[in-house]
């Protein structure tokens, strides 16, 4: 038997997205936010810790409108979301891919969650 080959990334560009938070919009106007674990030539994406978001339906809007006091003339309806965990998003249903900007993350220069925590706890102890 062959020993398993050590992993070498076939694409540095895509490798940069691995473990990043992506926002993936699908053809039915839902979007999913989760961390990318794996992708291939057909842009099938495996996301972990994914949350599904959907735009409220017309019905929800009506209900919210009934409940609001109507003073502002505007109605605020929250997007429905739910945690769905590990998912595969097939490439052919994807209409848009966005990446969460690293700058928005605290401790981004360290690039590692462990270091980030370490730094935070050090700050706390000072």
């Amino acid at each position: 038997m062959n020993a398993p080959q050590p992993y070498t990334s076939p694409s540095p560009v895509l490798q940069a997205f691995i473990n990043k938070s992506l926002r993936v919009t699908t053809t039915d106007a839902r979007f999913f936010i989760g961390e990318l674990k794996c992708t291939d030539r057909d842009r099938n994406l495996i996301l972990v810790n994914t949350t599904e978001y959907r735009y409220p339906s017309a019905n929800d809007g009506l209900n919210a409108a009934k409940e609001s006091d109507g003073s502002s003339g505007k109605v605020r309806v929250d997007m429905a979301n739910r945690f769905i965990g590990l998912v595969v998003v097939p490439g052919n249903v994807i209409t848009k891919i966005e990446v969460q900007e690293a700058a928005a993350r605290r401790g981004w220069r360290f690039g590692s969650g462990a270091l980030e925590t370490l730094k935070m706890s050090m700050m706390a102890s000072v």
């Binding site: 560009v13 997205f17 794996c38 992708t39 842009r43 990446v99 900007e101």
Partner: protein
């Protein structure tokens, strides 16, 4: 604040450069983990998938009357599928009209609509508004009652019925009368618009609305309202049990109810339980003690001091009456529970019934031992005179006799259900029928013993009760004898078939016959009396090796002829004798099935007696035969 940058284009370009099969991944992530991932947009995995027809569904779209009829019938099918055990999510809740009505979780009638109705409805929209919407509301209301009734009694969830409503209220807050008003105005709308509809279509719609109204009226009633005298459109037959005609009649009804083919739906099985017992009252009229004492009185006819209602009024502890009452109270508490549970068991599905009875028989066995003790204690207070025989003085042991009789009936039932539910393989039929006739024989002996203790009451006292018991015991003996003959004929027939090696006994490399026997008899292994017999003895009494083939078949023939005669006799008996006052039709059907089984078995015996060459056997489980006595069809192999 998190921001996202659109990378669709660069992602697309980069992935286009990959080769087929190449993966970009987190090195710690294995594809093995990915097996559990849900696939988005896969209709079977992605529950959040937005189906365009679902999203764009507009309930007020105009419909033709024909379409409305189709939708109504589809809804009725969905509803019945739920009654038959499917989940709401796969039946009614998958209907877009129902979904429209319920997705806003309406608490008031005004909220339960298909949405804001169009201002100036076209004729095609009017029919949706005035006919379909009221129909759907009434249907949901029916389901609401159903969802309340069934779980209120003992019905096995997920096995018979899925009560899950996924948090949606099924219009439980809305008054039944409000819905009836809606249905009435729907009917009125049909009258007003008769000109626009063809006669046929108007009638079809009217009938569907009327059916729904009748259903709604019945679903709105529960055990309590029936106890208070409500009448019914659908379960009138079941309400007959409320006209109490003695414990034995009630028991017969429950046994026949349970044996109905097809098995009654969960709703009726649950309702029957509600009718039987609510708030510690049996059939809405009497305490448990009454029906229990009735049953004991009719079957065992104990000395009159035992069940005397005056016993319970005595408060002086030195009085024997007080002592009797104390022990009878214990008995009512102990046996009453098992007894009423037996009725309830008959409201379960057949497979479940057998499983429950296998456990119940152990309970009745220990009850028998406990009652024997009470019986001998009671003797001191009733001053029962023994019957003198050659074996010395004998006492009636009324209570434990009664218990033993029920225990034996349960044991027979377990075997009978084994046949009915296809539990026994063909090559074990001879042995199992042997046990059936063995238990019947034991019970017959027991009834004989009971009859010897039924003493003629002194002149002027309770002749009626005495006659009732004698007729009960005589009928029981006839019933036992008939089935015993049928079972014996089957023992001989299958024994003959086994000898000719046509029952296809499989090779079992990991087990042997002894092991299988022990497994088969497991429910009875710990029963003290009658005991399971040793395997070697069992084989020798079933196989009858000392007998010639011809002899075996001639015995089979004698028994089946005898069985036929007795069932014919039974079929002519009046309802009062066979204790089927409230279910005489079922009784007749049942005896006819048994008779047809007798004929079928007789034919099989005849064929086997004539043909010496190779034959093959198939079982006919047809509805015309008794389910516990399927008929073997024997064909000559060509």
């Amino acid at each position: 604040m998190t921001t996202f940058r659109d990378v669709t284009k660069e992602f697309l370009e980069a992935s286009g450069k990959l080769n087929v099969g190449q993966l970009v991944q987190d090195p710690d992530f294995t594809l093995f983990q990915a097996v559990g991932a849900l696939e988005i947009m896969d209709p079977k995995m992605d529950s959040g998938l937005l189906e365009p027809e679902y999203e764009r569904f507009y309930a007020w779209a105009p419909r033709l009357p024909e379409e409305i009829i189709g939708i109504m019938d589809h809804l009725l099918c969905n509803e019945m599928a739920w009654h038959l055990g499917s989940a709401l999510s796969q039946t009614l809740f998958a209907n877009l009209y129902i979904d429209k009505l319920l997705s806003s979780s309406p608490m008031k009638l005004e909220q339960a609509t298909f949405g804001t109705p169009p201002r100036e409805p076209t004729p095609g929209q009017e029919i949706v508004l005035h006919v379909l919407q009221p129909y759907c509301l009434a249907l949901i209301k029916c389901c609401g009652y159903m969802a309340k009734q069934v779980p209120s009694e003992h019905i096995y969830e997920e096995e018979d019925f899925v009560p899950q409503t996924y948090g949606l209220p099924l219009l439980q807050n809305i008054e039944h009368a409000e819905i009836v008003v809606l249905l009435d105005s729907a009917l009125q709308w049909l009258v007003d618009n008769e000109a626009a509809l063809s006669k046929e279509l108007a009638a079809a719609l009217r009938n569907r609305l009327k059916l729904r109204k009748l259903l709604l009226e019945d679903f709105a009633k529960d055990g309590e309202s029936y106890h208070e005298g409500a009448t019914s459109n659908w379960v009138e037959n079941m309400l007959k049990i409320l006209n109490y005609a003695g414990a034995s009649n009630t028991m017969t009804y429950f046994m026949h109810f349970s044996a109905r083919r097809p098995t009654p739906l969960p709703y009726s099985r649950s309702l029957l339980q509600s009718l039987l017992m609510k708030d510690m009252k049996v059939l809405g009229r009497m305490p448990l003690k009454c029906i229990l004492f009735d049953d004991i009185q009719e079957l065992a006819y104990p000395v009159k001091e035992l069940l005397d209602p005056k016993n319970f009024e005595v408060e002086a502890p030195q009085s024997p009456k007080y002592q009797i009452a104390k022990r009878m109270d214990w008995f009512v508490e102990r046996a009453g529970r098992s007894y009423i549970e037996l009725y309830r068991n008959f409201c379960q599905n057949r497979a479940r019934l057998r499983r429950i009875l296998c456990k119940a028989v152990l309970d009745w066995d220990s009850l028998q031992v406990e009652s024997e003790e009470i019986d001998s204690e009671l003797r001191d207070f009733t001053n029962e005179a023994p019957v003198h025989t050659r074996d010395g003085p004998l006492y009636s042991f009324s209570l434990s006799s009664w218990v033993y009789h029920y225990k034996l009936r349960i044991m027979e039932l377990i075997i009978l259900l084994g046949f009915e539910l296809d539990i026994f393989p063909l090559h074990e039929f001879d042995g199992m029928y042997w046990y059936l006739q063995f238990y019947l024989r034991t019970r017959s002996g027991h009834v004989d013993r009971m009859r010897s203790f039924v003493r003629t009451p002194p002149k002027g006292e309770d002749q009626e009760g005495y006659n009732k018991t004698i007729s009960m015991l005589n009928y029981t003996l006839l019933e036992i004898a008939a089935m015993q003959d049928l079972a014996s004929a089957c023992v001989y027939l299958y024994c003959a078939l086994n000898r000719r090696k046509v029952l296809g006994k499989p090779k079992t490399p990991y087990g042997d016959d002894l092991l299988r026997y022990e497994g088969r008899m497991k429910p009875f292994l710990s029963i003290g009396c009658p005991e399971v017999i040793a395997y070697d003895t069992f084989r020798s009494v079933v196989d009858n090796e000392e007998m010639e083939m011809k002899e075996i078949l001639s015995y089979a023939n004698d028994h089946i002829a005898e069985a036929k005669k007795q069932y014919q006799k039974m079929s002519k008996l009046p309802a009062s004798i066979v204790r089927a006052n409230i279910c005489y039709d079922s009784f007749r059907t049942n005896v006819n099935c048994l008779l047809r089984s007798c004929v079928g078995v007789g034919v099989a015996i005849g064929v086997l007696s004539r043909e010496d060459g190779p034959v093959e056997v198939t079982l006919d489980h047809g509805d015309k035969y008794h389910p516990a006595f399927p008929v073997p069809c024997i064909k000559v192999k060509s």
